[in-house]
């Protein structure tokens, strides 16, 4: 193992750790660009949307609701509900960024996505809860640049692409989340508690879907599943210890 010290090295490590997500971002961003083009946005509007909103699901919603002719307020409210899950992601990473300035944290938070969160949470689990600021910058900026580029490509080539699923691109995002989930499971010691959390999350996410707006089900499902995790941990700690794991 080589010792990594300088900020530049840390930044480049972040860039490197982002690479596995590039394929997923590229295909989803491309698809988003195509849909935005179809919704009637021009290339400047697509650029601005991907630069400022920078959220896959949120941008699909904007495009979809524009096509449906929804009013401005409805579109913004829907984007808010869809993107509220970032609140949880941001809270999880917060303890790792205690030593940064407020402006550094504002910048890090603005560029937080599901995928960079997955990579960062894995890094936290491996390094005992610490994340290097420059590593995070390398990760975030690579993901951001890739996303904006993918949106522009989709917007420009949109008129020629009819079916992105031909290349398996429609599965890139799911594949990436499977990989992030596997890494998360592998990085934790408590496999038995993990299995309860995963099962609870599946049940609560599906179960809450009819009762909350789509997008909020992820947040409700995950919040309840984490409570189940706490409960299982508590229950196991008061069990007479016949085995240790």
């Amino acid at each position: 193992m080589t010792q990594v010290c300088t900020n530049r090295d840390q930044f480049m490590l972040g860039v490197k750790d982002c690479m596995p997500t590039v394929l997923g971002y590229l295909s989803v961003g491309f698809a988003a660009g195509v849909v935005e083009y179809t919704a009637g946005l021009n290339i400047f509007e697509i650029l601005l949307l991907s630069l400022l909103v920078y959220a896959g699901a949120g941008q699909f919603v904007v495009a979809g609701l524009l096509i449906a002719g929804a009013p401005t307020f409805t579109i913004i409210l829907t984007v808010f509900i869809i993107n509220m899950r970032h609140f949880l992601l941001s809270a999880v990473l917060a303890p790792a960024f205690k030593n940064n300035t407020t402006w550094q944290n504002v910048g890090t938070g603005f560029l937080l996505t599901d995928e960079t969160f997955g990579v960062a949470a894995n890094q936290m689990a491996r390094s005992g809860g610490k994340i290097n600021y420059y590593w995070m910058q390398g990760l975030n900026i690579t993901a951001y640049a890739n996303w904006v580029l993918a949106n522009l490509l989709g917007g420009i080539l949109g008129k020629w692409i009819t079916d992105p699923s031909t290349f398996g691109l429609d599965f890139a995002l799911a594949g990436m989340f499977i990989g992030l989930l596997v890494l998360q499971i592998s990085s934790q010691a408590n496999l038995r508690t993990d299995i309860f959390v995963i099962l609870a999350s599946v049940i609560f996410t599906i179960g809450s879907t009819p009762y909350v707006p789509i997008g909020l089900n992820v947040m409700v499902g995950a919040s309840l599943a984490a409570i189940v995790g706490m409960g299982v941990e508590k229950w196991r700690s008061i069990q007479p210890s016949s085995s240790s794991s």
Partner: protein, 106 residues
């Protein structure tokens, strides 16, 4: 080519409602000592939310969505390759290749 004013309003509004939940916890919660029970709860959020997002991707929860057989097989293969290689990149590639092959032969 110019930017339409309604579109501009939608983009700025969407940016604000997206950025706030991203920025507020990391800037505020990083400055305070969180209670133990809350840290304990946060500990399970990554696992829980990655699972929830994946469920949203695979299970047809939205209106008019149906199960995608190629995606189901892709999911199984991606999990196997994921646990075998512990590599994000190989997991994604294995899943996508499976879906391409499934679409080709089905």
């Amino acid at each position: 080519m110019a930017i339409d004013s309604t579109i501009f309003l939608i983009i700025i509004g969407s940016m604000i409602v997206t950025a706030l939940p991203r920025i507020l916890p990391i800037t505020i919660l990083s400055q305070v000592d969180l209670p133990n029970w809350f840290m304990n709860w946060l500990k399970y959020i990554p696992l829980a939310i990655l699972t929830a997002i994946l469920v949203q991707e695979i299970v047809p929860l939205g209106e008019g969505e149906t199960w995608n057989p190629a995606h189901l097989v892709g999911t199984v293969v991606a999990f196997i390759i994921g646990f075998w290689t512990k590599s994000l990149l190989w997991t994604v590639i294995a899943g996508m290749l499976t879906v391409v092959l499934m679409n080709f032969f089905l």
